[in-house]
């Protein structure tokens, strides 16, 4: 398995190079550069702007610029955020824990909800309960996440006052205390619920259908013939089989979640990678944007790899080598 992982990691290198070229080219093709976003052309000396462009290397031939950027990138120098005037790495590292926290929480919510509902529906298909679950799920699937987010804020924050409107933590509490962590949890819950509910529907229905399919398999009949109680057959024999496809989703979800967080974080003004991404677009902070895009691409590739490795772990029929 180690050999397999190393081989796959090496295989990612050409992909990442290709992606970096695309990212770089796209960034250059975008109208304007960081100077046109930050500086008011009406009251700044055009010569100064030209000088700055020269200094930042914006006049070099593109391949040279790419080479400069990529060598820096490989050494961990992602450039300087033109918006915050600090290294991009610092900006990203500051926001990453928030997004990870949100991502993990929403995954947890998705999995818990989907398992509870999917297992019930799969065991009792075509009953009222199953239909009700399907109904709720399809409604959740049909409502766009930004609409859900706005409604959630309106009801739970504004009307009921259960959750804060935004941010990731109460600024008044002292870092590291129990109150601090509680406040973070309090802040993350609503966005995580909205983000988590988004994929719950597909997970639930997938699990339900897989359980129904597996319950018709011959091995279930064998287990019944051994005198195994039905409950154990569902919770052990069938579930262990139905978990296999679900676990492989986990890898893909990881990258998808951060993508999904862009909208959710922005609406909830939750300071994470997603919000940073959108802000960087509007302020033409290309160094940050490029680094973030590379990060997302890497996460997608890594997610695929994790999915495949998990597959090899949970399914004894798959051998990774």
């Amino acid at each position: 398995m180690l050999k397999y992982t190393i081989r796959r990691l090496l295989g990612m290198i050409p992909m990442l190079i290709l992606i970096s070229i695309v990212v770089f080219t796209l960034a250059k093709l975008m109208p304007g550069d960081s100077l046109s976003g930050e500086i008011d052309p009406l009251n700044t000396n055009p010569e100064y702007i030209a000088e700055m462009r020269e200094k930042l290397g914006y006049n070099e031939p593109l391949p040279v610029q790419y080479f400069d950027w990529i060598t820096g990138f490989l050494q961990g120098d992602f450039g300087k955020s033109t918006r915050f005037k600090v290294p991009v790495a610092d900006v990203i590292i500051e926001k990453i824990p928030n997004t990870l926290f949100l991502g993990v929480m929403s995954l947890l919510i998705t999995y818990i909800l989907a398992f509870l509902m999917g297992m019930y529906s799969g065991r009792k298909p075509y009953t009222i309960g199953d239909n009700a679950i399907a109904g709720v799920n399809y409604i959740m699937l049909a409502i766009p996440s930004f609409v859900a987010a706005v409604f959630a804020i309106y009801f739970f924050s504004f009307h009921l006052n259960w959750f804060p409107f935004g941010g990731s933590v109460d600024i008044l509490v002292e870092e590291g205390t129990l109150d601090y962590w509680f406040s973070r949890l309090h802040h993350v819950l609503l966005p995580a619920l909205v983000l988590g509910a988004m994929s719950t529907a597909s997970y639930t229905q997938f699990l339900r259908n897989d359980i129904i399919e597996n319950s018709r398999k011959d091995f279930v009949r064998t287990a019944r013939a051994k005198g195994t109680p039905l409950k154990k057959i569902y919770n052990v024999h069938i579930l262990r089989n139905s978990i296999i496809p679900l676990v492989t989703f986990l890898g893909f979800d990881f990258a998808a979640l951060i993508g999904g967080a862009i909208i959710t974080e922005t609406i909830f003004t939750y300071p994470g990678i997603g919000q940073l991404f959108l802000d960087s677009v509007t302020s033409r902070d290309y160094p940050t944007l490029m680094a973030l895009t590379m990060l997302l691409s890497f996460l997608t590739l890594a997610g695929n790899l994790i999915a495949d490795i998990l597959y090899g772990i949970v399914d004894p029929r798959i051998r990774l080598d």
């Binding site: 018709r216 398999k217 011959d218 091995f219 009949r221 064998t222 287990a223 019944r224 013939a225 051994k226 005198g227 195994t228 109680p229 039905l230 024999h237 262990r240 089989n241 296999i244 949970v314 399914d315 004894p316 029929r317």
Partner: protein
């Protein structure tokens, strides 16, 4: 190979009486098994033969109460196991019988085992379901069981997964699982159909050995009369959900009565014959939806059919001592049949 058909002083191990099992198709029930009655004595091997679709599996799943939930249902009759009617037991009570008193092995060894659990886990499960022993003891038992069914390297195989074994080996695992709690009755539903000819013979021999050492009874379902001749004491021939003939093996092979049995006999492959020339019976078993309600269900394929066969339903009755058949040719209240049989003139 003589069955103990005559010496039935004690109650038989299993008594099936007037079993009717149906399936719900488009909100209507159709019987797949109708009026089936037979006994299985202790230490007896009863063979059940018949073509595909004649209700053999449905009959055996009825005994185990493993019919597809909500679709298949026992609609009448009794199944007495050691004097207790098990056809009405709750699932919880049935779980105490399944795997402990009555076990079952199936036709498809490739799919009958759970692909994500080790062989050891799956054998231990049946033991732990019925006995309160430690996991460690159960593991030792399962290794011993694997050895007893002729699996080499049993101490390694317990940790392997089903996909690592061949079909014959998996069927041996199924057998090990089925006999783990020393059941009194083993139902083997076409245990060798999916296997190579040489492996088939080995598995049958194994079943016969186990039957003898464990003093177990076996219901052996097959569509191969050759298999029956080899190990059974008694044979039941089924057609379209009904029993059409029932006799001891010797009696049936020496003196087949029902035209359907006759045709099945002709279909037994002989070693010196080309397999391609194997006689098959023309036509198909009627599906349960299109089952003729009166007359003989075999009439449309029977070479000896008479006009009455379409209007009079033959009943299972004794045609020789300890030999029953359901055919108008042997119905005494139907003399026309006897005559035609002598002339041997097919009428339809």
């Amino acid at each position: 190979m003589t069955g103990n058909y005559t010496t039935k002083k004690t109650t038989p191990l299993l008594q099936v009486r007037n079993l009717q099992t149906g399936f719900k198709i488009d909100r209507k029930f159709y019987n797949a098994v109708e009026n089936v009655s037979f006994n299985v004595d202790r230490k007896q091997i009863v063979g059940i033969v018949g073509e595909s679709g004649c209700g053999k599996s449905v009959m055996s799943l009825s005994i185990m109460q493993l019919l597809p939930n909500g679709i298949g249902k026992i609609r009448g009759g009794e199944i007495d196991f050691e004097g207790l009617n098990i056809s009405e037991l709750s699932d919880k009570k049935m779980n105490k019988i399944r795997g402990k008193e009555i076990s079952m092995i199936f036709q498809e060894p490739m799919t009958s085992l759970n692909p994500v659990f080790t062989i050891g886990y799956q054998i231990e499960e049946v033991i732990l379901n019925h006995e309160s022993i430690s996991k460690k003891e159960a593991r030792l038992r399962s290794i011993a069981l694997l050895k007893s069914v002729g699996i080499p390297r049993a101490d390694k195989i317990v940790n392997e997964y089903p996909h690592q074994l061949s079909g014959g080996m998996r069927q041996r695992v199924m057998i090990a699982m089925a006999i783990a709690c020393q059941p009194k009755l083993l139902i083997a539903d076409e245990p060798t159909t999916a296997l190579d000819v040489t492996v088939q013979a080995q598995i049958l021999e194994l079943l016969k050995d186990i039957q003898e050492t464990n003093d177990m009874s076996i219901i052996l379902i097959t569509h191969d009369l050759g298999v029956v001749a080899e190990i059974c004491d008694e044979v039941i021939v089924m057609y379209a959900g009904k029993i059409v003939e029932k006799a001891t093996v010797d009696e049936l092979f020496n003196n087949p009565k029902h035209p359907y049995t006759d045709l099945l006999m002709k279909a037994i492959p002989k070693m010196d014959e080309d397999v391609e020339k194997l006689a098959t019976i023309d036509g198909l078993v009627p599906s349960i939806i299109n089952m003729p309600q009166i007359g003989c269900r075999f009439a449309n394929r029977c070479p000896k059919a008479m006009p009455e066969c379409l209007t009079v339903t033959p009943q299972l009755g004794e045609v020789e001592p300890q030999h029953e058949a359901a055919c108008l040719l042997y119905d005494e209240s139907w003399p026309a049949g006897e005559e035609r049989q002598r002339e041997g003139v097919p009428v339809l």
